[in-house]
Amino acid sequence: MEKFIGRYRNLVILVAVLFAQVLGLAVQVKRPADPSHPDGPSTRLIRLWVAGAFTPVEKLFVRSSLWARETWHEYIDLRDVRRQNRELRQQIEELRVQQGRLQQDAEQARRLQALLGFKEQFIQQTVAAQVIGSSGSELSRVLTLDKGSRDGVRNDMAVITPDGVVGKIVRVFPGSSQVLEIIDQSSGVGAILEKSRLQGIVKGTPDGDPVLDYIMVDEAVAPGERVLTSGGDRIFPKGLPIGSVTRVGKGHDLFHAIYLKPAADLARLEEVLIITKVEERAPAADQAESPRAADILAQRLPSVPKAADPAADKPGAHADAGKKPPPPAPPAQKPQDGPQ
């Protein structure tokens, strides 16, 4: 036996190391007792060590690059600012006219929803976070954020930008958290087509293009149609933009494979919002004064141009959302055909 082990020492060690890792995998794959804590104590420790070692360095790099960029843009590179200012003022005037029209529509919709006893999901509290790292692998589309359990972040919270859905929180550490992007192959988001109201599931693909699945082939779907969250997964509030249809192909069984262009630019994410509290209630008919989700998003993310509303220009509008919960606001969504 000793002779055998001596002769095949390298192979024996290889098999032992592989066996240990396979055993470890088997223990982890076993469904956890508490789904909100997917890691066992031993693996959680390893992940904590790695997060503890990498996160401070990543935060340092991201914050110094942000500081350098802000210094450049706000104090040195001020060319064309006057011209941009004129253009933006003109744009604000146009948007005000548009806003007046939309507000009337919204008020009418709220009155109808109140009459029907329709329950809406309101984003009540968010935390603004910086993207400081990633898994670095196309096979696991995970981002690291600079906010963790100390900031009120928990597993399965939705992560969004003003443009659309980013993903959901899959792991939380004290000072950071991991987001599984909607374009990951293991991701799934309940979705609804904006015009036809057909419901399906948005999944990731190896190429990183999300696909809307489970829409029957006999349904007509046109390229360009917007896809929104359906709220059926109980993670993403209803009505958030996921993307728009780019092409419709043949899927598995009797279903379309509807390819989407994500609404959020997932390749260039710097700041995101974590939805920490969602409230479900029937809207009152006199909620015209409530700020909209888009206004809140614009105030929370430093890189997003401020809304026309003068309240957004107040100092402190960019304050950390976790410390200052915003007033309830309805997500950008269209009313359903009937009561929910």
Partner: protein
Amino acid sequence: MKGALIYTSREEIEVHRFSVWTTVGVPLAALFLQAFLPVRLHFVSIFDLPLLVTIYFGMTRRSPVSGLVTGGLIGLVQDSLTHQPLGVYGIAKTLIGFFASSLGVKLDVDSPLTRLLLTAAFYIVHQGIYFLVARGLVRQTLDWPWLYALGAALANGVLAVVLFAILDRFKQRT
């Protein structure tokens, strides 16, 4: 041998070793850059720097045991940056470290062309093992993007030629 590990590389009759700083710092730097750079430069995610470091140390040390241990440790750290269970990258890189060091004994791994071809081949094998483990053991429904993997293999091969030449400067002759 002061301040150096006994990882050696035999080129004809020459023996090389790496300082402790290189042995620990290079894999850590590769893992950090792999996690940090794709956030700002998205195309960087096509490269697998931890894999390149695993192959390099495996081929130059020419010790299967140190190759598989290095690969296993690098893989486990990489796993903890993903949402996968720990061990998927760990198993893949353990095997690559072992194969690279076993080949390092038999082949001249200092030629740029050999490095390019071997790295490209190891990349494909690494992807294959990853998918095998993810589908077979973790029961994940993953599809293998063949075309992407071929392109990425070539890109990693080209980067390996440059990176390995830089890492060669950290070899210490005895």
